[in-house]
Amino acid sequence: MLKVVHYINQFFANIGGEEMAHVPAEVREGIVGPGLAFQQAFGEEAEIVATIVCGDSYFNENMDEAKKIIIEMVKKYNPDIFIAGPAFNAGRYGVACGTIAQAVKDELNIPVLTGMYIENPGADMFKNSLYIVSTKNSAAGMRDAVKKMAPLALKLAKGEKIGSSAEEGYMPNGTRVNFFEKERGSKRAVKMLLNKLKDKEFVTEFPMPDFDRVAPNPAVKDVTKAKIALVTSGGIVPKGNPDHIESSSASKYGKYDIEGVMDLTEETYQTAHGGYDPVYANEDPDRVLPVDVLREFEKEGKIGSLHRYFYTTVGNGTAVKNAKAFAEKFAKELVADGVDAVILTST
């Protein structure tokens, strides 16, 4: 019988929600939580020998150590396949699943599989290097997820040839694989057109490469008279991170008043970003949000003025959809406030 090791987070292990996300990794014998559904799908073919439970915050904030510990745990069981999640739309869980699955694959050479919703930031990060099954966006989709993940997991464990993404249920990963559909191409085309004409959902068989081009605005006419605003995805926030902007997969942005602030210091500001070494940004947050330089320019007449508010979020594993939504919202405020140009800093 094939051996499976399953990885889940604190929520699916019934330990608790966000408030328990700090629990470190632990291993339990046999099945925990959603593992039961997998076990039922595996039948006699495979057995979940162990389940590793780890808090999402613990994983994301102690990534190297967490990876090391968990790899050791997995090694002990020597499984035929390692399954993480499914994470649905939980961003940090998705990133954790992808990260740990990748680590197990790279370091232990064991086949791995995970599952999550297409918009989960973990999907974009890992779909080209791991098989990620596309799931619904909430735990209500568990049955559907297991139905797709279990057979694919067995195939991977047995080393069988994996077919196209459409046949096997994983997210298209940039490798085109041929397969035979039930109907001929022209029929598929006519059906697709009928759906498109009725504004119904359809799935293209070949997604065009992602362009996402934004046409640049014309240059600012006179920058010495312009009101410039600072916006950053580098995570600079007032010391203490009063609005609790997450260190990754940020679900919010902050708007802060720097009226009268000429310089950001270690005592007054910090970074909340979990994706880069924070030491230098914490020592002098101007390095990421150059308030000091712009105040100088203001004094010297090189710019008209520095806008009193800056907008910030953490651009670490942030879902594109969220980033777009934030910007759409505060862009309106910037325009209403008469801002002429924005300096956007990242990391």
């Binding site: 191409g185 029929k187 004409l197």
Partner: protein, 426 residues
Amino acid sequence: MKLELGYVFIKDIQFAEVSKVENGTLYVNRDEVKALILEDQNFKSADVELARPGESIRIMPVKDVIEPRVKVEGPGGIFPGTINKVETVGSGKTNVLKGAAVVTTGKIVGFQEGIIDMTGPGAEYTPFSKLNNLVLVCEPVDGLKQHEHEKALRFAGYKVAVYLGELARALTPDEVHTYETPTLVEGIKLYPELPRVAYVCMLQSQGLMHDTYVYGVDAKQIVPTLIYPTEVMDGAIASGNCVSACDKNTTYHHLNNPVIYDLFDEHGKTLNFVGVIITNENVYLADKERSSNWSSKLAEYLGVDGVVVSEEGFGNPDTDLIMNCKKIEAKGIKTVLITDEYAGRDGTSQSLADADVKADAVVTGGNANMVIDLPAMDKVIGYPEVADIIAGGFDGSLHADGSITAELQVITGATNEMGFNKLSAR
């Protein structure tokens, strides 16, 4: 325009004293066919072979595949402007020898394209492995120029197909399918509530071995225009295109254009199949601009709500495809495109030579770079030694035991961009 297509089902093909169709078997007088081919003095010799489904036979290099049809009633004859006079076709009654085909082979130029395996893994990828084929192997006279050779071979195929089609003239078809396209005005009255759909059919038009003919006119010379779907069923569009094997439209594909048949299936029910816009794929960029401007203008003029666009060929036609898509979408008309892919042997390269965000509804005929192993066949009709130099073949493609390792590209019709096959990719 209304056409009754009568299918006479052919289940077997045999050589015989007298050419005829009896009990589903197509009997062919070999000498008559040879004589027909040799009427063209550009050929010094000709041979005729049979290849049936399931037989261990490989045909290569394939140039064209043609289905035998005959005009039983109504104006004109099959292949107007080429074999028959230019009279407008597409109405009345036409009989078809369904299950039979004429296959032409020949080394016109150095690289050799087109393999049809009648059995084995290769047979899965070509629709022609399921047909009873009459294969023409014709030797040109020495020193014959390539374009004359190409023309001679092309006409030999049409002539033999027409000769066989004649055999069905007096027969009662096993099945009759009626196809009718109302005029624009009639159509609006009949189906006021249904979405109006047109089919934009792109034709390869770039030079020797890359041409298509419409009522005998070289498609390079046309500006996009309208044609009734049933005209195509009578051979109004004929292929002179030999490259590349996997995504060229053989004359058989034109006669059996699957987009036309599948749109007819929905006509009057879920959509109003208004008609067909044909356009070309010239190399000159200004021609591409002109043609795509024109086809989008025609789509708008016809007042359609959506179009299906099919492509032919590799590389620069992707640019035509995207131009057609963008310009038609810009008119507020929805598009679905059918294409194939060259995503590299590992499937990770960029599939098309051009792209646009507006092309959001695409059907694919598969990745033509996929490598396939074709086992040796007992018999090879044609010129087997050319396996190494066929498209998708490479040094060492042809193994000593007669098996071939090559890309899917080499198989005739494998990734057809009219959506003829079930092959796809994700």
